[in-house]
Symmetry: C2
Subunit: 356 residues, 2 copies
Amino acid sequence: MALDLSASSIDLTRQLCDIESVSGNEKRIADEIEQALEGMPHLDVLREGDLVVARTHLGHERRVVIAGHIDTVPVNGNLPTRIETEDGIDYLWGRGTVDMKPGVAVALKLAAELTAPSVDVTWLFYDHEEVTSDLNGLARLARTRPELLEGDFAILGEPSNGAVEGGCNGTMRFDVVTRGKRAHSARGWMGENAIHKAEPVLALLAAFEPDTIEVDGLAYREQLNAVLVSGGVAGNVIPDECVIHINYRFAPSRSADEAEAAMRALFEPLGEFVLRDLSPGARPGLDDPLAQEFLAAVGLAAKPKYGWTDVARFSALGTPAVNFGPGDPSLAHADDERVPLAQITACEDALRAWLS
Amino acid sequence: MALDLSASSIDLTRQLCDIESVSGNEKRIADEIEQALEGMPHLDVLREGDLVVARTHLGHERRVVIAGHIDTVPVNGNLPTRIETEDGIDYLWGRGTVDMKPGVAVALKLAAELTAPSVDVTWLFYDHEEVTSDLNGLARLARTRPELLEGDFAILGEPSNGAVEGGCNGTMRFDVVTRGKRAHSARGWMGENAIHKAEPVLALLAAFEPDTIEVDGLAYREQLNAVLVSGGVAGNVIPDECVIHINYRFAPSRSADEAEAAMRALFEPLGEFVLRDLSPGARPGLDDPLAQEFLAAVGLAAKPKYGWTDVARFSALGTPAVNFGPGDPSLAHADDERVPLAQITACEDALRAWLS
């Protein structure tokens, strides 16, 4: 059954959620989106893998990119969607109802409806956001067709509880490895216990007070956490290695190099430091005129975004970008993922008002 | 090729090592031992699974059990055996050359040779020592035919560097589990980090000074070590659980209940305490007259045994027991497992002198 873009954005969210599209399985939903948009005279539609781009060509001076990913994390018995009322509020329940089918639905509906928006718009529906960065559809497009990402301002429909969340924290993952010497645990004095040597690492983490840093008027709360720990060989062997995997979320005012240097200074005295992953944050860029107009039009003050999102990819291209979408981000990926219906309509209305 | 029990104990060790007999695969070596002993008029030979018992029936007042396991840990490219000279000392290299084919070889040779020992002897060759306790051949015999284990004194040919090692420490394994609350690591303040909560557990372990306790004249050195640690869900999730697996080696003067109570008192304030495994130690029992005679005959002072061995099973049956065998126990299970040839002969000579 083809997508019905004339339906309400709530109904369209539900249509999109009920097309299972776990990362790697986006072909069908991309086909449906492409078919629904192609042939519309105000749009140039282009397919690249399972990514669909639809662009207006009105000759406006300014172009806005409005993007959303069409994949989800794995379904866990939470499809098809259902509507439930909780404390008098109607919710759509199910995988993707927060992250981020409603943002996609709002974009898709407005892409079809707004034949003459006040700025040129690049509508972007992309694949593989919920998996490793090297598969990410937006990153792929930035490598292969960067001109398609060009714009003066970008809005990512990631869940932000209907608020405007600017920029994002950077994220860095690294291992601190403590080493010892194996021995039979009956004669422990012949070895050196690597797990015991991890104690100062955990002590530092437990006592650490992360900063809150103001960037372009928004307060970014940093975080430093051990997220994984493993060590040991067997129940009767003194362990010769313990690995503490640490995640540092840092304000967008710090560069990647600065973040790395700060962590090395803290942890290198305690063990071997192995950098695993490092993505700089994105400054909110809210001093940009288009961003200011957008905030005025939607009538909301901006908040900082804590989680890393693809706004950082736009930021890296020099395009100011914000997150603006229905759904509580803390319910993303959760088994009880659900979105208040009213948030979907509110986002649709705000975006339509600004673009009209 | 059948075993040649008239060969030297060194050569017999080599014959036994070259029959691969990793736990679970003892059938062939048990067959060879059974065939080599059966038909000897001074021995009653009995087969139970892959365990072989050979008993003299001379009507002596006293009976000694001399036991050894015939299985090994997995081979790691270290078979067949080879002889190498290192710093002027000749070694037999290979899996089982320490743990514990030379002890088995000495017993097997003397079982055949000593047709009229000064005490009655129960020679015991058993399976499945290197795996979980419920498979252990000696434990099985204690359940099914306990009368075959009866004796006034027991010698286990486990590697003790040719010394007499009395009794053994007890061993206990338990988990200390710290718990928290999951949250996305971008918003860590919404969760509670279970790995950070493990810090006081590691601090206690790192600072702990284990006791050394004298039991029947031997000093038993205790040990307390984290041997395994694991915690965490994913690189972007605040961990809700961390498990520290701890091994406590305790002197044989402490009962199992006392050891457990001591550990609960230390760790229950810090996390959930889950007992995994608890085996009491064995007092050396060296005040027993047979033990005294044995020590006098071999001309060695006894030392404490730190590792848990099957001597504790004899101790539990009320039979004083010691470890006495060739090989450095710290090379047991090692890839460079090797035994000085001279130690094999020395053990053989000492045992023969005592039993003659």
